[in-house]
Point group: D2
Chain length 334, copies 4
């Protein structure tokens, strides 16, 4: 970590800063330039409060050299993490495909989709029971009943299930859920992250709409700091100035960037990212080509009746086509 | 609300869509163009699920003409709302100034700041007890003890208090708090918003980092839909591509835009928006000039020791100067 | 095109608007809702001045249904355009690969790179002679001499050459250049676009840093309106809030979106988009997987001495590896 | 300037880097941390090519401590620059107000507006003769004839005139123009900037749609490096994710930020920034309150017939009201 001091800082002030840093168990290296003095903080700076340092009168700016995340950092954990989920996993040799409807609507709907996505090669079933909606007047999900139906579909097909949590008070309902999803809007709901850190469930952590890669990893760190290291990252598009043709911008370069920064697996959700069924196939192919560990795809047996997020759902037939196309790409990336 | 149909949609399909819309209590007006047919939905479209309509096979795109928010909408509530807070208020004749430290640190610190901001003209005391921090390793606030100290300061000075909630489970601790703040990162924590809708406390709703004005009003609508109409909006800067000199971009045009769209009062937080103590005064002056109903300003008696968000805090002396400067502007805007 | 009228617009005003629209050769369809009247403009609205319509007193907002671009629009030109470049082409059966140094530095450097990229399968040589640099104090390119060296390399290898123009006054120097590149910063330099519209050279039009897809196509339209329809679009990343790990965000979904909207070929530049040599390979693979018609890649024989944009250049050896990896993906996308 | 070296860099490599830096007239200070070595470059780093340094194999990242702009930098020119324009000026004691139509349309229109804005207190007349339009099919301005009419209006009223240039080849037409405007889309048209650097005309340099403050100042530096130091900066809104209610986000904090970084005057254009006539008054008041040296405002005598950018124009009556309101604020900011 580097602190750049303001012009005019005097020797006494520098000395007093040096003492303060050393009192926190770090050592100091000074570098005096023509216009400013640079203070290098040497040692484990992970737990230094950057804002506190920045707030000192004599400090102009602060820059981290090493990353502020530790548990998620590949430097301290060089091997890829493989997250076990029932009989399957995310990361490692398995290419994970989580497919299913945006919202659980009925037993029939769900079991029919579950069977067809399994037949096409999906490794997990996804479906929303609690739905975050921009408007309080829109359908909010089947809630507990939706989870019950997901568990039925799991029994029927053997597919592990992934579903979103919006409130830590609902955790008891998620006891038999295989992977708990944290949605983009809750990526910095730190209280929820802390609660999930106390469980041992695999957590699918979606990127926030305007979250930097570093902030995203810091949110993973919140969960890991509580003892739960079973994190799967999911890129789902970021907000940009152009939303005429795609709802968000799918930031695929985040995949190779994350694979270098962290040992955690990273999957891609082309359905939410683009908001367009037509774009699911090409973007799924691109995600595989740049090294994603898996995909999350919305599939609906009757897209025109989907109770939410309809435009981004594909049919089971189209899903099978996506699986075939991505399978070919996958073979060429090994 | 307008739905634009895809080319090639046939008469039967249009008829079936018309029936579906009429079944929801709306009437339909068709407009056939050279390339596409436009369906006008006439009536109360507030509760129509836009995504569901968009998901229909024959629909190319959907555009709302009237706003999707109802309780917050000035069209249905032309007069300005005045939110009562203890003996004072936000909106109406009072220009509200909420001042105080980013974090509550000690009784001494808090009471000293509370007295000096009161003397300078603040109408409320703000202070963080529960702190949302990007890193799990940074100071997370004094929590319950912080609220106790705020209540002490209220007793001592008479100033109503404003503090942030991060978890609905903490609501019992907020019983004597005058205004409950929802932070930017929780603006779309819909579960929290619903819980706050069941209270009758004034809620200060900060704008999310990448929230559109419409999404922000929809979050207000979540609280109002539960029966609590005591909402104060707070612009605190949005995320942009340039964060070298200011942490966020303060979107002051949101102030007059909101004053036209909604009857709810809107205040401005120049401290968090810019992240720079030097910029608090000019941006506070600008906020007053463009019609804000109030300000939220961080004040610290020893900025170099602030446990968080230090760079954006000003001293009580500088705060008095800001109050004087904004007071002069205020006089000229009436 | 739809114009939504303000509440309170009276019959006379609507009639006068109707006359005005009809006078421009369009017909009008009115749709009266509870709160507002919608005016549908039917006919060729491509040449209607949207801003002018929006400026009328009684108009609340204007929305285009059909796209404002005509020459670039796939609706009016359903077949893919294939841009002939010397003995090769962009679009159609050929997968175009433009490779070479960011800046031309010397004859030796250029010819050595040209030979190695040709051997690895590049179809064209790219190299900067005129360089747009943020700082006036940075290296501005070898200018005319750089073009002379590119022509030497072309003679030596047979590869057609691509190089950037920054000033229409330099056009005479580009007489033997095969493809003229318009850089991101000049995407809306309309005077330059108009001049290029008067030539018959293939133009590589890079997307502006914050250009929407529609604006980008309108810039293509500027060139095409002058008579030159030989346009190649190049996605090169857009500006976003996170530039810590990648310089820009590569918007790969723009590729399938453009393939639907326009008949013009679209290629991808992973070097400039990410600003990182390590990311070139995975992002090139992703670009191929989602259907790009080609790639533009920076290659340098001694990346540590590149006079500009060094971090994003790969060596000829790494380029050969990228060609092999993308070749495998390409085979699976047909 | 600081270069952070990669882990594993050896002593020989550090020594060779040190020699290279010293060869450029700078001295070096090394700071070795646990994970990385930091190289401080001491001396005049303004002319160091940051990209070149970053491209070296052993360099992980480069950070500037001092600003890369020199002529525009307040550190080397502490006093405010006052730009002389005819009998008036921008900066210093004069509050500059440039008002007039978006496009020059006729002699009558222009002279009528010029007289009324003068009467209301404008110090200059603005009007577009060459118009940058997104679509090639929209009105492109009256060009040379527009400049002739502006000169007529100047003769009639004595107001100096401001008008936009889009092509250096048109410079001869601008001989009697008082201030030459460079529009947002040309902010990084470096060839145009260089040409303007060879004149001695005051240049109004608008901020690019997605230009950082540093890039904007580097564009000013392009003009100043050529010898022309008569630059006026103009904030006109930046692109963001929300354009439903305002076309751009007016970044008013840029005003006090620029006043600290540079000695050049900075004015604000609330008309283009918001794209809404209703927002001109509050945002003009805010701009004055936070210290702008002037305003640029669109005024049209018949907004419903304006040939471009209609929605953002106000009438001469409303302009007089804006002048009165901003005048009161101005009095309170001194």
């Amino acid at each position: 970590m580097i602190a750049i001091l303001k012009r005019g800082t005097n020797e006494n002030q520098i000395e007093s800063l040096t003492h303060w840093i050393e009192a926190q168990g770090l050592s100091v290296h000074l570098c005096k330039g023509e216009f400013s003095t640079i203070v290098g903080l040497i040692g484990d700076t992970t737990r230094i409060d950057e804002d506190l340092l920045r707030s000192l009168d004599i400090v102009e700016s602060v820059q981290r050299i090493s990353e502020p995340f530790k548990s998620a950092n590949r430097k301290f954990h060089p091997e890829d993490s493989v997250i076990k989920v029932g009989d399957t996993s995310v990361g490692g040799d398995v290419f994970a495909v989580m497919a299913g409807p945006c919202s659980v609507e009925s037993e029939e709907q769900l079991i029919s989709i579950a069977k067809s996505v399994k037949a096409a090669g999906a490794t997990m079933l996804r479906g929303g029971a609690f739905k975050p909606r921009t408007s309080p007047y829109d359908f909010q999900g089947m809630k507990g009943e939706g989870i019950r139906l997901l568990l039925e579909a799991k029994k029927e097909t053997g597919l592990p299930i992934v579903t979103e949590i919006m409130n830590a008070d609902h955790l008891s309902l998620f006891e038999d859920v295989d992977v708990i999803q944290v949605g983009a809007r809750n990526m910095q709901n730190f209280e929820l992250l802390k609660e999930l850190g106390r469980t041992n469930k695999p957590i699918l952590l979606k990127r926030g709409l305007s979250a930097t890669i570093k902030e995203w990893l810091m949110s993973a760190e919140y969960i890991m700091a509580g003892g739960n290291e079973n994190i799967i990252l999911c890129e789902r598009g970021i907000r940009s100035f152009d939303s005429q043709y795609t709802r968000n911008v799918l930031d695929l370069a985040a995949v190779p960037v994350l694979k270098e920064l962290t040992h955690l697996p990273v999957i891609v959700d082309p359905s939410h990212a683009t908001g367009s069924a037509k774009l699911v196939k090409p973007m799924a192919m691109a995600a595989v080509a740049c090294g994603a560990h898996g995909l999350m795809i919305e599939v609906h047996n009757d897209p025109k009746k989907a109770l939410c997020d309809g435009p981004q759902s594909i049919t089971p037939e189209k899903f099978a086509d996506v699986m075939e196309a991505t399978g070919k790409i996958l073979k060429e990336t090994v």
